[in-house]
Symmetry: C2
Subunit: 686 residues, 2 copies
């Protein structure tokens, strides 16, 4: 049966609804927001944080609607979990809103129930009635509605409502005066009681929309990538997990919370690549960690030179103790000598000459890598085996995976595998390494990837950065696409960094760290200003760790480690920098200066960042910041505190002079300090 990509709808089929439908459902639910592709994919949120739902609901005529937000955790082994309901409040323009807080990571569903409420309609009308006769008749109508509510109630409530109904009916029959009748009919506590027993026979129900609640790190994380094999303090010696363990305190001190390793598995010997991607390896060459699998094992094994499974587990424990999580690379591809190739030849594409089809994008060839054939007849076994690789490392204590080129494997596989892994372990995070076309990247995010690499590396000018981050913070992906931005990776040494000018490394880091709540660097290359490309204009590093061991001089006086530590400490102290939704750019009358503001959800924490994009020259200009937009009385002076330099500036009005010398620090990260008088002061306006 073919895959159906979008939800099917009975509106497409020409049936006669009068026969099968309940025509008395008069409430309309026109839209439920947020939602991804009409519920085909889950919206993402963070457990323990408020999730807000808006619905467009109305009915014909003037009757009063009641609208409920319904939500529940997805069914688990114990079966269906009953839905909870939150009354929605009308914001105006037929938009209703309510929120709930998913208590723990996992999958949830939410939907809307709405009904025309005769009891509330009657109350609403009665408040507007002035004619005494009308009020008397209305009291009688109300007595009937209240009696009906009594009929739906139980115990004491039933008796109370029945008594109220009788009293109202009697007062109306005895021609009590209008004021008395109105007072009795509009009794507030009794109305609240009656409202607890509404007539929902003809309620409208929206479809249920799926929701994924992640843990907080999905929203706010700070990544450090390193090659364990280069972690040895002794030049030329292959690094080990123990060497990495020795580096953990320094990495934690820099303020990172995710430590990500390229593949740690045995590396193929057949067609192994040499230094600088040479087609033929020289004796002693260590090969690419992405050419996975050799006689020692495949995706579940560890390269013996790095250490044992036990040592890996010890490393995970040591990292955890320092607030660092180990993230592993998932690269679903095989070296020619991977055990899978012999054990499951049917998982690969064979050529008529009896060889396996290696990876290629003609005329480029990757002879050391065999891709899996996701269209093979044995695809179910292949999927199950690949998922078992994820399960294996989850079992070893890993909860974060960076997935290599997910866009070259079947999308359906990822949707299934991520959903299944997270069903058992909803705390697992997947980062999609797909530097590809926009719609493909969005699809991966929709189908389950927790975070996604971005085009940040290639967004360099003020206009590029402004457009791109406006899209990331406010564009159509906000409900499912969580950007994770990297100034460099082992594959991408952007031309901007080729000069090695520290100000450029500093400004790109500040941009990444303040524009995006999730960011990472590939170190020690970054903090040690590694900048030589393999050739002019190349984005490949010269002597890349991808193909050889490297030795890093952490004691370099030019190291940016302290600067990075400061930036990351600011991120950790300031909730404004731990999410993206509040980002707005601020006008500066100099294209080399970029300025933007972010605020925490409660508006208390406001950070204004200004970066000099020119690494060579002092740049100055006027930044526009409406004081009212950050909760400051426009007539009052307020203080901005540069958290990088610890300087404090007194600002007043809407225009502020900025001067940034790249030879000192090319950026301000300014905390806005102001006297807060009342709640409105917290306001931060997008």
């Amino acid at each position: 049966m073919p895959e159906i990509e979008t939800p099917s709808t009975d509106a497409a089929t020409a049936t006669t609804p009068i026969a099968g439908t309940e025509g008395r459902v008069r409430a309309v639910i026109d839209a439920v927001l947020p939602g991804v592709d009409g519920g085909r994919f889950p919206v993402k949120c963070v457990a323990g944080e408020r999730f807000t739902v808006t619905a467009h609901c109305f009915t014909d005529g003037h009757d009063v609607l009641r609208v409920m937000l319904r939500w529940c955790a997805d069914a688990d082994e114990a079966g269906e979990i009953p839905a909870r309901e939150v009354p929605m409040v009308m914001l105006g323009n037929d938009e209703w809103q309510a929120h709930f807080t998913p208590p723990a990571p996992g999958r949830y569903r939410y939907g809307i129930a709405a009904w025309v409420d005769p009891f509330e309609s009657w109350r609403h009308e009665l408040t507007r009635r002035v004619d005494a006769d009308d009020i008397r008749i209305a009291a009688q109508v109300g007595a009937i509605e209240i009696a009906a509510a009594a009929g739906r109630a139980e115990g004491d409530d039933r008796a109370t409502l029945a008594a109220w109904s009788r009293a109202l009916e009697q007062a109306a029959r005895q021609h009590a005066d209008a004021a008395t009748l109105k007072a009795l009919a509009l009794d507030e506590p009794l109305a609240e009681l009656a409202a607890r027993y509404p007539d929902r026979r003809f309620e409208a129900l929206s479809a249920e929309l799926p929701l994924v609640a992640d843990r907080e790190r999905a929203r706010f994380s700070t990544w450090y990538e390193l090659f364990p094999r280069s972690a040895s303090p002794v030049p030329g010696r292959h690094g080990t997990f123990q060497d990495v363990e020795a580096r953990l305190p320094a990495i934690a001190q820099m303020g990172f919370d995710v430590l990500y390793f390229p593949p740690i598995h045995p590396i193929g010997r057949v067609n192994r690549k040499g230094r600088n991607n040479a087609l033929v390896a020289q004796p002693g060459d260590v090969g690419s960690p992405w050419a996975i699998g050799a006689a020692e094992g495949g995706h579940k094994a560890i390269l013996p030179e790095l250490g044992t499974a036990q040592e890996f587990r010890r490393l995970v424990g040591a990292a955890t103790a320092l607030g660092l999580e180990i993230a592993l690379d998932i690269a679903f591809q095989c070296a020619p000598d991977h055990p899978y190739v012999k054990e499951h030849p049917d998982w690969f594409r064979w050529r008529p000459d009896g060889t396996v089809q290696y990876a290629e994008n003609p005329p480029k060839k990757y002879q050391d890598i065999y891709p899996f054939n996701f269209e093979c007849d044995d695809w179910r076994a292949l999927w199950a085996e690949l998922k078992s690789v994820l399960d294996h490392w989850v079992g070893e204590g890993v909860r974060i995976f960076r997935v290599d080129n997910p866009h070259t494997k079947a999308f359906a596989f990822w949707e299934w595998a991520i959903t299944e892994v997270r069903r058992a372990h909803p705390d697992v995070i997947f980062l999609a390494e797909a530097f590809t076309r926009p719609k493909v990247m969005h699809r991966l995010a929709k189908l389950g990837f927790t975070q996604s690499y971005t085009y940040f590396t290639w967004r360099n000018t003020k206009q590029e950065l402004t457009e791109y981050f406006t899209e990331l913070a406010h564009g159509p992906g906000v409900d499912y696409f969580r950007p994770n931005v990297w100034p460099n990776t082992p594959d991408i040494l952007h031309e901007q960094l080729h000069s090695g000018v520290p100000a450029m490394f500093m400004s790109r880091l500040v941009l990444a760290a303040t524009l995006s709540a999730n960011y990472g660097i590939y170190g020690p290359a970054y903090e040690l200003l590694e900048h030589l490309p393999r050739g002019a204009g190349s984005e490949e590093y010269l002597d890349s760790e991808k193909y050889q061991l490297r030795h890093w001089n952490h004691a370099s006086p030019y190291s940016l480690a302290a600067f990075i530590a400061r930036v990351n400490a600011i991120r950790h102290a300031h909730p404004a920098l731990q999410a993206n939704g509040s980002l707005r750019f601020l006008p500066v009358d100099n294209d080399q200066l970029i300025g933007y503001a972010k605020a925490s959800d409660d508006g208390l924490d406001v950070i204004v960042t200004v970066v000099n994009l020119d690494p060579y020259n002092v740049q100055s200009g006027w930044l526009e910041l409406d004081p009212a937009s950050v909760g400051v009385d426009p007539g009052q002076e307020f203080q901005v505190h540069d958290l990088l330099s610890d300087q404090r500036f007194a600002w007043q009005g809407g225009h502020h002079f900025i001067r940034l010398d790249p030879h000192i620090v090319p950026a301000h990260i300014l905390a806005v300090r102001r006297h807060l008088r009342d709640e409105r002061d917290f306001a931060y306006f997008l």
Copy 2:
């Protein structure tokens, strides 16, 4: 069972797709556009006109996709109609496009099929191969793919493909040189043949989206509303269908094509309203035509004073002969003496005092009108009867209905009734008279109303008009909401018209006629400059025809009939004014002057309209019109021809001086005349 408002989705349920799904479907259909609420409602188009569909499709890796647009008419009595397929073309950015032309009014469905095509992937790879060994192996792979295509083919095609496969295989085995192999493998006519037999086992299918094709009048119509009872040439005598017949040539001459009557049914006598909405009618008062039903009959009957059913049918025929369609008012409500009240008391809401609940919006009361109770137990019979009213008038030759206050009747009823009526008569047009909240108006358009009244009457300043018509032409409703704009109605005499200044009546008419392809006026009140309100600030006409007969002096020297005829003739002659999608506003440095351009689909016809919004003073200013945007070489002079005044102006460059004297004509309707050298000259850029 409760109504499900949005399509259900299996993504919301946590199943394990590996068991039930075909995992080898690697093509992804991420979006199909246009679509209304994921297919819950149909998109609207016009039969005989190109309907363009865009889909976002891609797959993992570098394989080549084939994408088909599938469409078919909805099933009819003869059963399912097989889908036709149109190959989609890639526009870039993973967006594919194709179009089809629904041949006749009716309901259609469209969807997308996409699959990873091994044959096309092989061809694409082969073109990029340079290595001779690779080419030889590729030729062998190709021979296998071609043999597979042969297996799917029949007759001669099968033999041809099989021979090609053998030839290629043999040439590869015999080590033919690379150029020979490539030439044989990439043979264009043979490739086209093989492409006709693709392997679609693992194709992805989108959901099918519903489409409604209307006839052309749904897109382009010019309405004239009149009260037949005021059509008598003799003051004080009740007008008749025969009197209307006598007026038809004058109305047709003004360029209208729809002639719409308020209700023509017997008018209730109980609680009849008097002149100027007096609570008690005086003897001889004719009452409101919207208080439908009396002893003579209800919604299927004709007020005897107007004429007989036979005379009505004659009127319909006479109008048709002049290119005029008669549109009837559908007001589903009853006067207290409507036969339904006695025959179906259960269709109304009864109050405890034994009276029927009349229409009210406290404290406002409409004692002469009983609404139907759409929540009554007998709702099925009520729906069926109301639909039979529509069927009755369709039987009498009416194909256009203006529906009174549809938003005070159950939405589900309209969706059903409109769908059912149009199933038998897809040429029927429904205009929704819902002057209410935006989401409610949009819902009515989504569920089936062909055209919708708008807020035009209350959009008066340049900024209001610009914002509102930009939304109507380019906002989210473009696929389902067709605006029909009215400078006046019997219920709305806007304050702007209270002065009676002709320039105001002229400018509002030009705005309506040129901003919207569908527009109408309530006449003769409009062309005769009727402007006195019932009270200061009131939107009600003094001595409104809603409650009394009127006599109109068509011979008035102040009549705008000739001006209206000219404007409507321009609309009929210029396709640019017969649709809304091309509308764009042009900057003018005077807020009393509003300018905008429209073009026909083929770009050949371009109309620039400029209106002076100030009815008292000459206004002048500079209009910006980039010549390139209307296909004119910026260095060339071109002519604009004012179709109202017949003046011609020579324009050059981007800034054009405009001067409009409201005492003459407060508007230009300018046809852009230019020499067309080649196709690019036709370009009209939004």
